[in-house]
Symmetry: D3
Subunit: 132 residues, 6 copies
């Protein structure tokens, strides 16, 4: 606590295969500390990477929008590592400081009105029920 990081040179073949895929997919010279920690549990490393790769690939939403949402949830949950890594990823995908600070403003406001809506016990408007 914290666990030591498993670098490529120390990693098993199973772990190296994941590292190689991360580096190739993201075009990076090395994987970040999150993966080097998860490598203590190769099963979690493989599963988490497979899931993150799928979820964050372009779809109906573009990669930057997904990254901003990931960052927003991480701020709301107060995950310090995740805030650092996902804001850096967002910048790498085109976000600037002004955009990140607007994300923070929305996260703050949502956390406020979430509690107001629950506290006032607001009934759902009928118009919202079949909106999508």
């Amino acid at each position: 606590m914290p666990m030591d990081l498993i670098d490529y040179s120390q990693a098993s073949d199973r772990v190296r295969a994941v590292y190689d895929d991360i580096k190739a997919t993201r075009n990076l010279p090395d994987v970040n500390n999150f993966w080097k920690s998860l490598a203590h549990h190769p099963e979690s490393l493989e599963r988490t990477w497979t899931s993150v790769k799928q979820v964050m690939s372009p779809g109906a939403l573009d990669p930057l929008t997904k990254e901003l949402i990931y960052y927003a949830v991480s701020v709301s949950n107060n995950c310090r590592y995740c805030m650092a890594s996902h804001s850096a990823s967002a910048v790498a995908k085109g976000a600037d400081k002004e955009m990140l600070m607007e994300v923070l403003a929305v996260v703050g406001m949502a956390n406020e009105t979430n509690r107001l809506a629950n506290g006032y016990d607001v009934p759902v408007d009928p118009a919202f029920v079949d909106a999508w």
Copy 2:
């Protein structure tokens, strides 16, 4: 609990002024239940509307992206009313069902990796520190 809703016809002039601004700003025939509940505390109604209007107006991020982030935080916090209202707002601003389901996938994944990062106590990569 829930509090009764204050309709326009019952509202004070102070409350009606806010309702009028909401309807004009959003081009809607009526305000939704959140505002009709908050109207029990006119000070909170005015302040919250002023803040939401400012935060959600276009800036470095477009209105749809902001709405998707608002929805994402509301899902993560399990605010049922907020999930309903902000997904409906997102649809009104151009989101479709596929986009909302991708938001849910990102929210789920972020909540998972937030706990993994904390549980493994991953140290922040030096490269993230000055990323923005």
Copy 3:
């Protein structure tokens, strides 16, 4: 789910002893549903009542202030039952609707600035370190 409620007439002697103490301490004709549910696990019923009674008794803080804090945390955590019971308790101890709505305003604001402080990663001011 929900579990059936254990009324006094069905309760064991062990459970009745707790119910009797709750009714005597709070001067109420019957215990509320929280205790009638917990009665399925007499050990939890006894321990929780003993703890709540101790924590909520007058000390450096008066009972109403403690009740408002209890309500505030319950709103922030979105516990629907707890919001209902602790707002009712606050009213029984002298709170009015205006006070409860101010509590909601503080809870909303705290949830907003909690995320802003974390998101901006604000360093603690030296003056705060030894404030108490």
Copy 4:
């Protein structure tokens, strides 16, 4: 991460106007780090200060009670900066160590019973529905 602090001497006129109002309202020689961080986004600085000033001013609840509630929510949400700043503010408004430790006891107890009430899925007592 953390963002550098914007001191008065470096601040724009727009930011200085907020700093001046904070210092005058609170009768302090300088603003604390929260505001010096938010100053990176002047719009958030202005909006947040306006909201906090309004919410925390005396109303149906006195300023110390509001501050204790703010502190309680911040502890429950585990916002380290907010715990430090709002406990210091509470002390400045008359709280002592014994009062703060009673707040912590209530916060702990509320977090426990919030989960018990949800886990046992306790139905809301009819008497609570129209309590306020």
Copy 5:
């Protein structure tokens, strides 16, 4: 909201393949509503099932222990559906009512001491640092 459930008879081949695997793996005549909702997003259905199947299979921990942990986290997060489904799964794997009520007691206590530890800002004991 809620989304309509996609039954086997309406499902695409892609969705049916997942349903078939769930039914075979768990030896059930039908899948539960969680999967019938996720089926609106086949990619999430496949990924989530693959992950849940892997995580919940026997390893260093037996399936019942894993299910109790899953239930505990769901209670702590107040996910009503998840509490219902994972307590039912725990019962199917051998849990009884007494065990589930002890889980609730631990969840409540953990939520209390989590806040006390944060509020008192307890420094980590050196002995804990390299405990595993």
Copy 6:
């Protein structure tokens, strides 16, 4: 913040009585920092120790299973001290690193599906209602 730790040599008789019981019950040469912090509020120290001792004693669940659940909730809530102390306690009761990493995998997965279940607003299956 953090509060200074109250060692046995400085402790009042009331506090020493609790310390003695903790050491005897757990067969340890000293109490950990959590108790040395809580000792600032002897009432909270006594009550919390009494509750933890009761909740964590063997019952329908064995002590290790309870400890893993305690750890799981602490990870999910991001209580750094609690993660450290309860993983150390779990190790002392027989857990190994592989088991703790499987706990983390379950905690992560539960946090993901909790949000998916809420976001998709999945209706509770009738079969779950009376499962226990």
